[in-house]
């Protein structure tokens, strides 16, 4: 099965082959986007906190790929890839990071707090873990309305210490809500290592306490993540109740760009970089007989063009006018408090 024709000619459908290549494209696009963002931050073109998800691309790609339109996703602050995989225009995403009028939040908030409900992506706050109750509520809506949709909430092992996470998982378990909890365990809550955060080995082990299944998977192995996510999402969609996926992974950069992460051992970083999700998946594609060199060159070319376009779009977009600080506080209705008087 190690030559080009095999994959397409095998019992696998062409659609599956396309899908697997698409997964590769997304991971490559996310990585390139992350690296560009880090560079733009160094150039002072992106201000404020920048939280790189480099190293964790397989998690968001593998979990979001099996989702359907209308499924709800609450990303965490490192999940730029969620926006790309769910189809948000890269230019709008870049404009969001630059605080431009054309960004998701029209300059109102930084980095990834600007959600995009057109793509059913919830803009999470900085209070990590607080999006899990919200995802449970989205799942409750699907359950009440008998819609075959799922909600996905990403969170870190750091957030898993917060009470909101417990409240959400407990409620989801009680009501058998269609929600998938995805823990990106990257071993550090800012500087605090795993052993100071929890007394057990796996966040996933906690699922048993809420009456549902918890799974541990290598978050750097895209194939493993996507295969698990497909099974879990199918069961959850069919009404089997919530499940928890814990992806063991690692962030290459600091908590944010201003953090040199000196609290980490250099050897540890090297070890994890040697398990990088992209070459791992490339090996799989090669084994399946794809012409990797050609595919990689094409994708690199494509992502370069997309990023150039995105940066140009964002840089040329206007900043919001100062007075817009007072807009978007209230939905229009019978009475707008901003008018401070009778309607």
């Amino acid at each position: 099965m190690a030559h080009a024709q095999t994959a397409a000619a095998s019992s696998e459908t062409g659609a599956r082959v396309e899908y697997e290549l698409q997964l590769y494209y997304w991971m490559k696009l996310i990585r390139a986007f992350e690296e560009r963002v880090s560079r733009l931050h160094r150039q002072n073109k992106i201000l404020g906190g920048v939280y790189s998800g480099a190293g964790q691309e397989a998690v968001v790609t593998g979990v979001c790929a099996p989702l359907r339109p209308g499924d709800f996703v609450a990303p965490l602050h490192r999940d730029l890839g969620v926006f790309l995989v769910r189809g948000v225009e890269p230019g709008r995403l870049m404009a969001q990071l630059m605080g431009k009028e054309t960004g998701l939040s029209r300059g109102k908030d930084s980095f990834l707090h600007g959600g995009d409900l057109e793509h059913v992506i919830f803009g999470s706050t900085s209070m990590l873990g607080s999006s899990l109750p919200v995802a449970a509520g989205a799942a409750l809506k699907f359950q009440i309305k008998k819609e075959a949709q799922v909600a996905v909430a990403f969170f870190g092992e750091g957030a898993s210490s917060r009470g909101d996470v417990h409240e959400a998982m407990n409620f989801a378990g009680v009501r058998k809500l269609p929600v998938v909890f995805v823990c990106e365990n990257n071993r550090y809550a800012y500087s605090t290592p795993l052993e100071k955060q929890m007394a057990i080995e796996n966040v996933a082990d906690r699922a048993a306490a809420y009456g549902f299944k918890g799974h541990v998977v290598s978050g750097n192995d895209l194939l493993a993540v996507v295969q698990l996510a497909e099974r879990v999402i199918r069961r959850v969609r069919e009404g089997g109740g919530p499940e928890l996926i814990e992806c063991k992974t690692y962030r290459y950069r600091g908590h944010s760009e201003h953090d040199a992460a000196l609290y980490r051992d250099q050897e540890e970083l090297l070890e994890w970089q040697s398990r990088d999700p992209i070459p791992q998946y490339e090996l799989y594609l090669e084994k399946k007989g794809h012409d990797l060199k050609r595919i990689r060159a094409e994708i690199d070319e494509r992502t370069r063009a997309i990023l150039q376009q995105a940066v140009e779009f964002a840089e040329q977009s206007p900043a919001p006018a100062p007075e817009e600080a007072l807009e978007d506080l209230y939905a229009p209705g019978p009475m707008n408090p901003a008018s401070n008087g009778r309607s």
Binding site: F72, K141, A331
Partner: protein
């Protein structure tokens, strides 16, 4: 038919759930029990377990899940069993819900109502007596209402449910069964953001809301009889946004303003009302803006403590007389 304040809230819930199938109720003991105070009584039988949901004891979850459903088009009415417990949901209200539209660039809305039975004078002690409204009245993105009559309780709850924004609805526990009035048949609403003059007068204005409205009206009757003073009483009804025009109109009319609330003095809404008047109606004032509010302490349990701490009609009468003397 005469209806209590509590029954008015219950009616509003029934009618709104009938009107809009996206309205649902969620909270601790709201379904089987019908609520700790019976405010949600009968809803489970009328609308079923999909729309009347008992939750675990988890206030952050209750509000957070409400937000998740609201942004997808539902109209959740969630209950904090006691307003005191709202502190456990503080982050979900002030960060998740209040900033939601803002951080989504105006392309999302969060039509959730958070009901909070609040207020003292029912021997509730430290954790069943609080008036936490001022924690929320300085948070853009929220609306905050505090009805003082059965009519307003019903009309404001209907408006809150139909509003496209998060509304924190403070209902005063002491009023639940102590006041009643005839309500009109059929659908009516009370607009959010509009205060109401409960009693017109020329000598002095009292600005109040919620549980202390009735004490203010009692005090006004006493000074009318004993001192011949005509006191105007303005019921704010909505605390965010404040009805600045109504506040300034009564201040300019009488020149003397007393602000009364059951919430504590320091950092209470009375300070903001006084500042609005000082900034915009200074030239109309014939005396200082005075405040009567709970003392700056916790809500002590033993009756002598609670009486000492809380406003009442006699304390308001004294304050009126002091201000009238200017």
């Amino acid at each position: 038919m005469e209806v209590t304040y509590l029954a008015a809230i219950n009616q509003a819930l029934h009618e709104e759930m009938r009107r809009d199938e996206n309205v649902f109720v969620m909270g601790e003991d709201v379904a089987e029990l019908g609520g700790a105070f019976k405010v949600t009584d009968g809803l489970l039988a009328a609308f079923g377990a999909d729309r009347v949901i008992d939750t675990p004891i988890a206030e952050a979850l209750i509000v957070g899940a409400g937000v998740g459903a609201a942004i997808l088009g539902m109209r959740p009415v969630v209950e904090m069993q006691f307003g005191d417990f709202i502190s456990c949901a503080f982050d979900q209200i002030v960060n998740t819900a209040a900033t939601l539209r803002y951080r989504h660039g105006g392309r999302a809305s969060c039509p959730i109502v958070i009901r909070a039975p609040s207020g003292a004078g029912v021997h509730g002690a430290l954790f069943h007596s609080q008036n936490p409204e001022a924690w929320f009245t300085r948070v853009p993105g929220l609306k905050v209402v505090a009805p003082a009559t059965a009519y307003d309780a019903k009309g404001l709850l209907k408006s809150a449910i139909r509003d496209g924004n998060p509304v924190v609805y403070f209902e005063h526990k002491r009023l639940y069964r102590s006041i009643r009035e005839n309500l009109p048949d059929g659908d009516f609403t009370v607009p959010i953001g509009v205060a109401e003059v409960r009693q017109a007068g020329r000598d002095l204005s009292i600005i109040t809301y919620g549980g202390t409205l009735h004490q203010c009206l009692d005090a006004a009757r006493i000074v009318a009889k004993e001192d011949g003073l005509a006191v105007e009483v303005l019921d704010l009804r909505t605390l965010l946004p404040l009805d600045r025009e109504a506040i300034l109109a009564t201040a300019r009319k009488t020149g003397k303003v007393l602000v009364v609330h059951e919430d504590r003095l320091t950092g209470g809404i009375g300070g903001e009302v006084a500042a609005i008047i000082a900034e915009h109606a200074f030239e109309s004032l014939d005396g200082p803006v005075r405040r009567v509010a709970a003392l700056d302490t916790h809500n002590g349990f033993s009756p002598p403590l609670e009486e000492f701490i809380l406003p009442n009609a006699n304390k308001i009468v004294d304050a009126i007389r002091g201000l009238a003397a200017y």
